[in-house]
């Protein structure tokens, strides 16, 4: 998303540092800055906000908070959004809102504003939207957009005159259609959540508005919609109708319900700023299940164990302050001690949620979670059992847990939300907490409340399954952060470790190497592959790796890169074919008359995947045969692997290509017991690029006195060699005795001529070859 520096500056007390400092800090500590555009009105940063921070940082407001954290700046508290009732008028009709499914629409707030004349936006608003690539439409629409890009809260405004009755978030009825603002007609199905009034569909909830209720120049009253939706529902719907908008993107990542009301107030206040004479209604805020803040805790030792650091209290406290995180320090021993007596007698209710129902009511399990504030643990009793470190009854001390099968609730024999599927044959449905005197505190259906009982009373009628400890040192202080509402990404201690690590700076970490005191084992297949490679290298074979997809095979991709690349190969054949086609053509350039290649690669057959192995030999000549050479090489491979059964398929005789299932072949072989390093070393340090233009060859044969060696000739050629000569390959040498008793040697060689810049003409090639020709003739040698 694009961020405009002056817009960010609005929220920050200190003057923002120069662009380079902002970019560097964000890059290291938070987000990648993809582009920086300096304009006359201010810098625009294009910042890549990944899904984990799309909840809070896809708006200038949240990004300003982030800048405060990474640059140690101060967020302007007076920029926090407040309700302004100076223009409230009880006579303005308050819209009524209905939600049909509170899981799909978690909050919906609305208000109406009268006395509007829709016109152009003021200059500042236009400038800001344009800076981040948004087109100005009219003041009302621009304000809703402005709020979206400030607060990360998509907003919608309807012309109040077009709305009949209440505004509803409901599922579409069979056959309903919607014409979007951009004139697309959508036929809706009944699993699609829409915004509607009593008569018609107004928009695709959280994704796009409809045409009929849009703001026009005649609009005098608006109804504002500020809602929040289930991210999965939005994602599925956006996919189904192939509509992705700035709004849907935000909802499918998930945003906090708190933004619903803030967005509504911010929108209304901006309208009031531009049109001072407006009047607003009361707010209708439907919010069925109110969010409760998350508390996430971490100890200094947990933090240092994760990061491998020696951070201290002061460092943690300073970082939390930079992040604007409020926190408390909790010593679990003291906290539980002080808290538990106040809970005795509290109502038993199952299920109870630690976050929503405590301390009014508890289940056996939510009681434990509540007492261990800031210590992450799974909810269910059985999951707590699997999660805790097992101890014996004798080891139990204050704060430890006792697990039972009491027949009180649902007896579970497998963990559900922690290490899912872990078997607990005894079955667990109950948990209690050890007190100092050995008594057990627990919430029980039997008494209907939280009680303290002796262990014997607790154990009576219940099968004791085991004992567990969740915190090894109860006297160790924990930092328990009240997670800011918009930070949906912070839920576990590792998240806090990341926040502290990145803000303090990962450059403060000291590299450590684990002492494994062993040499790692090779992978069996790769080990034997290298044995085969050694044989093939000795026989002039080159290794190729080719594409896994093509137009042959029986496993199909839903959508490939192209229609002829939608099948997964079932053999290595097509790769070998492609390789031969190009390499035989390029043989002069490669400097090999005969092309020898091999490859290892996965192939796909039905439900299985195997690594196949193939070799191929050819020289492109019509009558040559490489069956014998190939068979000999294959036999050597059989010998080096020491396999008894060795079958391969002859794919073709010309070119000679054979293939086999390498995994089947090595199946009987033993696991290698130690790593063997490959002895192959490449001499090159820098690769020479391949010219995309065709090459031309010129063959020259020259008679020289018998004391002249090829090296001497090569030296002469090199001294006059044009850069276009890519290769010089000697292909024939023979000595002939002449009648006069002299002996002469004939050297026949090939010049490969190629340009990196263009296709050469025959004349150009001739002139390049001509220079070589002349140089040899000047020596008095006869060109044959």
């Amino acid at each position: 998303m694009k961020f405009f520096k002056p817009w960010l500056q609005d929220y920050i007390i200190e003057t923002l540092p120069e662009d380079a400092v902002i970019v560097e800090s964000l890059n290291k500590k938070a987000f990648e800055v993809e582009e920086v555009l300096v304009t006359a009105s201010g810098t625009v940063f294009d910042i890549k906000v990944l899904p984990n921070r799309a909840h809070d940082a896809l708006g200038h407001y949240g990004m300003a908070y982030e800048l405060c954290a990474v640059l140690s700046l101060t967020f302007k508290k007076d920029m926090e959004i407040k309700e302004d009732n100076s223009y409230l008028d009880a006579l303005v009709y308050t819209p009524s809102v209905l939600i049909s499914d509170e899981l799909a629409c978690t909050r919906f707030a609305s208000l109406r504003i009268d006395n509007i004349t829709v016109g152009e936006s003021p200059v500042w608003l236009k400038e800001r939207l344009e800076a981040i690539g948004q087109r100005s439409i009219n003041a009302i629409v621009d304000i809703t957009n402005y709020v979206q890009f400030s607060l990360n809260k998509p907003m919608h405004a309807y012309d109040a005159e077009t709305i009949v009755g209440s505004i509803q978030a409901r599922y579409a009825k069979e056959g309903e259609t919607l014409i979007t603002l951009d004139e697309k007609v959508l036929t809706l199905d009944t699993s699609t959540l829409v915004i509607a009034d009593d008569e018609k569909v107004l928009g695709l909830a959280g994704i796009k508005g409809g045409k009929w209720s849009g703001i026009s120049s005649t609009t005098t009253s608006v109804i504002l919609e500020s809602a929040n939706f289930d991210p999965v529902h939005i994602r599925k719907t956006a996919e189904k109708y192939a509509i992705r908008t700035d709004a849907s993107k935000r909802f499918e990542n998930g945003i906090a319900n708190s933004l619903v009301i803030e967005g509504l107030h911010m929108t209304a206040n901006l309208i009031k700023d531009i049109y001072p004479n407006v009047k607003k209604s009361y707010v209708c805020d439907v919010y069925p299940k109110k969010d409760v803040p998350y508390h996430v805790g971490i100890t200094v030792s947990e933090l240092n164990a994760i990061l491998g650091t020696q951070y201290d209290d002061a460092m943690i406290e300073k970082t939390f302050k930079q992040l604007s995180f409020s926190y408390e320090c909790i010593v679990p021993y003291d906290y539980i001690h002080t808290l538990y007596p106040t809970l005795i007698g509290a109502l038993y209710k199952n299920p109870s949620s630690m976050r929503y129902d405590a301390p009014a009511s508890f289940s056996c399990s939510s009681l434990i979670s509540y007492l261990y504030k800031g210590v992450w643990m799974p909810s269910l009793s059985i999951d707590k059992y699997v999660f805790s470190n097992k101890i014996t009854h004798n080891e139990c001390r204050f704060g430890d847990l006792v697990f039972a099968n009491s027949g009180e609730g649902v007896i579970r024999y497998e963990s559900v939300a922690f290490l899912r599927g872990t078997h607990v044959p005894e079955g667990v449905d109950h948990v209690g907490l050890f007190l100092e005197n050995g008594n057990i505190l627990h919430a029980t259906k039997l008494h209907g409340v939280v009680v303290e009982e002796t262990y014997e009373e607790f154990a009576k009628g219940r099968v004791i399954v085991g004992f567990g400890r969740v915190v090894s040192d109860l006297s160790e202080k924990r930092y328990v952060v009240t997670v800011p509402a918009t930070r949906l990404d912070i839920r576990i201690k590792e998240d806090l470790a990341e926040e502290i690590g990145r803000i303090v700076g990962y450059d403060t970490l000291t590299p450590l190497v684990p002492s494994l005191n062993r040499v790692g084992l090779p992978h069996k297949r790769m080990y034997y592959e290298n044995k085969v490679r050694a044989v093939l290298l000795a026989h002039n074979f080159s290794e190729i790796i080719t594409y896994s997809f093509g137009n042959e095979g029986d496993v199909k991709l839903k959508k490939g890169l192209a229609e002829d690349k939608e099948l997964l190969r079932s053999t290595l054949g097509s790769g070998m074919k492609t390789s031969f086609a190009s390499n035989l053509y390029n043989a002069p350039l490669i400097g090999e008359k005969t092309i020898r290649v091999f490859q290892f690669g996965s192939v796909f057959k039905g439900d299985s995947e195997f690594v196949h192995f193939s070799i191929g030999i050819d020289d492109g000549a019509k009558k040559s045969s490489f069956v014998e050479e190939g068979s000999k090489v294959m036999l050597e491979i059989k010998d080096i692997l020491a396999v008894e059964s060795f079958e391969y398929e002859t794919v073709s005789v010309k070119p000679y290509v054979v293939e086999l299932n390498f995994e089947t072949l090595i199946a009987p072989l033993g696991e290698p017991s130690q790593y063997e390093a490959s002895t192959y070393n490449t001499a090159i340090t820098t690769y020479t690029p391949i010219s995309p233009y065709p090459f031309i060859t010129r063959d020259i044969a020259v008679w020289v006195p018998s004391d002249i060696l090829w090296n001497d000739i090569a030296t002469i050629i090199n001294s006059v060699r044009d850069v276009l000569i890519t290769r010089i390959d000697l292909f024939d040498t023979f000595i002939k005795s002449f009648e006069d008793g002299t002996k002469k040697t004939s050297y026949a060689f090939r010049l490969v001529i190629q340009s990196y810049k263009k296709t050469l003409t025959d004349e150009e090639a001739n002139s390049v070859a001509g220079v070589v020709y002349n140089a040899l003739q000047e020596k008095g040698w006869e060109i044959r």
């Binding site: 990648e32 990962y506 450590l512 790692g520 997809f549 492609t578």
Partner: protein, 254 residues
């Protein structure tokens, strides 16, 4: 007499394997055709989550299986070698092998995205995973620095940038000190002294759980990077697409 040539990817994988093996890491392998559970869900990339969009995926038609819980799962060409993290953990738990887990996995991966000189629809990655009671982010840095230093033949340091990969927390982008100019700035590192090279972090507790390991007892760190990118940098290869056409004009240079 060796007149044949190994593919540069093989040369790199052999060298990488050798380095990790010396550090005590076992070399392992995993399937290229992978179920959705091992490629995504178990790696904390749930269905219908925007994190799935971070990697363009080749989906397999008409093929379904079941995950460890007996739930239906689709198939993909693996988008990363990280599927091997889960498969390795499963194997350790199933066979009761002793910890630490220390593995390196080279392998082919696939991305359904437009190709150009530096992006191929198939390429090779390596994955490094360490799971033990003492795993820390500092230890990840130590292992990765040692790896790059030995691979590029200079004492190189790395730096971490904060980032997001669903299977790690904390999650990082890894930059390596430029092996060519050693940080002073050159064309290869675009004068920055640093080269973006991979992703890393502490294994997310949910990922350990999905592999059957209790995150209350163990921690892990993981690192991954592109083999193609490493050889592209090392040998200054200008077009990755030439690596997979069976073209000996390329291979025979190595």
């Amino acid at each position: 007499m060796n007149n044949g040539h190994l593919h540069p990817v093989t040369i790199a994988i052999n060298k990488i394997s050798e380095i990790f093996s010396r550090m005590g890491f076992d070399i392992v392998d995993g399937p290229e055709l992978e179920d959705e559970w091992h490629n995504f869900d178990a790696l904390n990339v749930p269905k219908n989550h925007p994190a799935r969009d971070m990697q363009d995926t080749f989906w397999i038609q008409n093929k379904t299986g079941v995950n460890v819980y007996g739930e239906p799962t689709g198939y993909v060409l693996r988008t990363h070698t990280s599927n091997v993290q889960i498969r390795t953990m499963e194997r350790y738990v199933e066979k009761g092998k002793s910890f630490p887990i220390a593995i390196c996995c080279p392998g082919k991966v696939f991305r359904n995205e437009a190709t150009d000189a530096t992006h191929e629809a198939q390429f090779f990655q390596i994955e490094m995973l360490y799971v033990a009671k003492d795993a820390s982010l500092s230890m990840m840095i130590g292992v990765v620095e040692k790896f790059f230093s030995e691979f590029f033949g200079n004492n190189l340091v790395i730096r971490l940038r904060s980032s997001y990969f669903p299977f790690v927390e904390p999650g990082n982008e890894v930059d390596m000190q430029c092996f060519k100019c050693l940080g002073s700035g050159c064309p290869l590192c675009k004068q920055t002294g640093w080269i973006e090279i991979g992703g890393a972090g502490m294994v997310h507790p949910k990922v350990l759980e999905a592999g059957g390991i209790n995150p209350h007892e163990y921690r892990g760190f993981a690192f991954g990077c592109g083999v193609d990118r490493m050889i592209m940098l090392k040998y200054e290869i200008d077009d990755l697409r030439l690596l997979y056409n069976g073209d000996l004009r390329v291979v025979n240079q190595f």
